[in-house]
């Protein structure tokens, strides 16, 4: 019960503080700050619990930490979906914006012009240090990202995916 209570309260506190600070945060800090805030919230909630009920068990704190970080990562993933436009949802919104008359198919080029997805994603990869631009070349820079990419591609092959990705 202690782990559940402390973990949930820390997640709620850390996430709420992050939502309040959201518009002031940018770039990598927007996402990197989440685990830091959750950890700070965990310390605060753990401290309050200690004052109120006595020192919590170390195992309970570990479980609370695991729960808080797991839920925190879910929040980060949801946040990525909110902050960055999805091409599919951008299309749906562009069509819906045209109302009852629908969107002329020829306007797809205009939607593409108003949504420079590739350029912004490349810029984000450069900002996060995962790729670098060297002259006219794009170069992968991080081994960790490369290992994750290998893992993901291996899993994709394992489940026999053959549809074009993108």
């Amino acid at each position: 019960m202690v782990a559940l209570l402390v973990g949930l309260l820390a997640t709620i506190l850390g996430t709420l503080v992050h939502i309040v600070l959201l518009r002031r945060l940018s770039g990598r800090l927007l996402f990197v700050s989440v685990p830091a805030l959750l950890l700070a919230a965990l310390v605060i909630v753990g401290f309050v619990y200690r004052i109120a009920f006595g020192t919590p068990d170390l195992m309970d704190l570990f479980l609370a930490f695991t729960l808080s970080m797991s839920l925190g990562l879910c929040y980060v993933l949801l946040l990525v979906g909110v902050v960055y436009d999805s091409p599919t949802l951008a299309l749906a919104n562009a069509i819906s914006d045209c109302g009852q008359e629908g969107m002329p198919k020829a306007d797809l080029a205009d939607v593409a012009r108003r949504h420079p997805f590739v350029a912004t994603r490349l810029a984000a990869l450069v900002t996060s240090g995962q790729i670098a631009l060297e002259g006219d070349d794009v170069v992968a820079t991080q081994r960790a990202a490369s290992a994750l990419t290998r893992l993901g591609e291996a899993y994709r092959r394992l489940r026999g995916a053959d549809t074009p990705a993108g």
Binding site: A3, L4, P87, R114
Partner: protein
């Protein structure tokens, strides 16, 4: 005390296996995800039930169960996002392409493979094929209420949290996506 982690871990292991097997057997992505989630959930519950029968560890069965289910749910959501990102995340696809060609690629080659027009055409093709969008007399209409709700919710959340209606413009701006 390790019970919530072990039960959720067992559930996740089975969820991954079911996703692979279902996909290999020809299930669609949504079907495979559905089966994966449900089988993992069942195994998590089964592990909790068996542990409850044989261990005194589950001294607080409700809290232990809730903790295990929250862990399983969050891990499965992370797994879903990881797997799905390799199908649809542009950033991940760019990294995968770079990995395939040895880590270096001329920018012009990258733009041949990935450009906004091609990307949106591919997505539109999927939406049309899936019946989420329909074409009548050269005009496109959103046919899926679920897609329309999701797009509206996503835009509303974006406005509330970031103050923008799209990452490419600001709230209150003109037409956007």
């Amino acid at each position: 005390m390790w019970l919530p982690i072990l039960a959720a871990g067992a559930g996740m292991a089975s969820a991954v296996i079911v996703d692979i097997v279902a996909s290999r057997l020809g299930a669609g992505r949504m079907q495979a995800y559905g089966m994966s989630f449900l089988c993992g959930l069942l195994l998590t519950l089964l592990a909790l039930f068996l542990a409850g029968l044989s261990w005194s560890a589950a001294s607080e069965p409700l809290a232990t169960g809730a903790l295990a289910l929250l862990l399983y749910g969050s891990w499965w959501f992370i797994f879903l996002n990881f797997v799905q990102s390799f199908d649809s995340s542009l950033r991940v696809r760019i990294l995968a392409l770079l990995h395939d060609v040895g880590g270096r690629l001329p920018r012009i080659e990258l733009y041949k493979r990935y450009n906004d027009q091609l990307l949106l055409e591919l997505r539109m093709e999927r939406l049309l094929k899936g019946g989420f969008v329909v074409e009548r007399d050269g005009r496109l209409f959103v046919a899926s209420a679920r897609l329309r709700s999701l797009a509206t919710l996503s835009r509303a959340l974006k406005i509330v949290l970031t103050g923008r209606r799209s990452e490419f413009n600001h709230a209150g701006g003109g037409k956007s996506g």
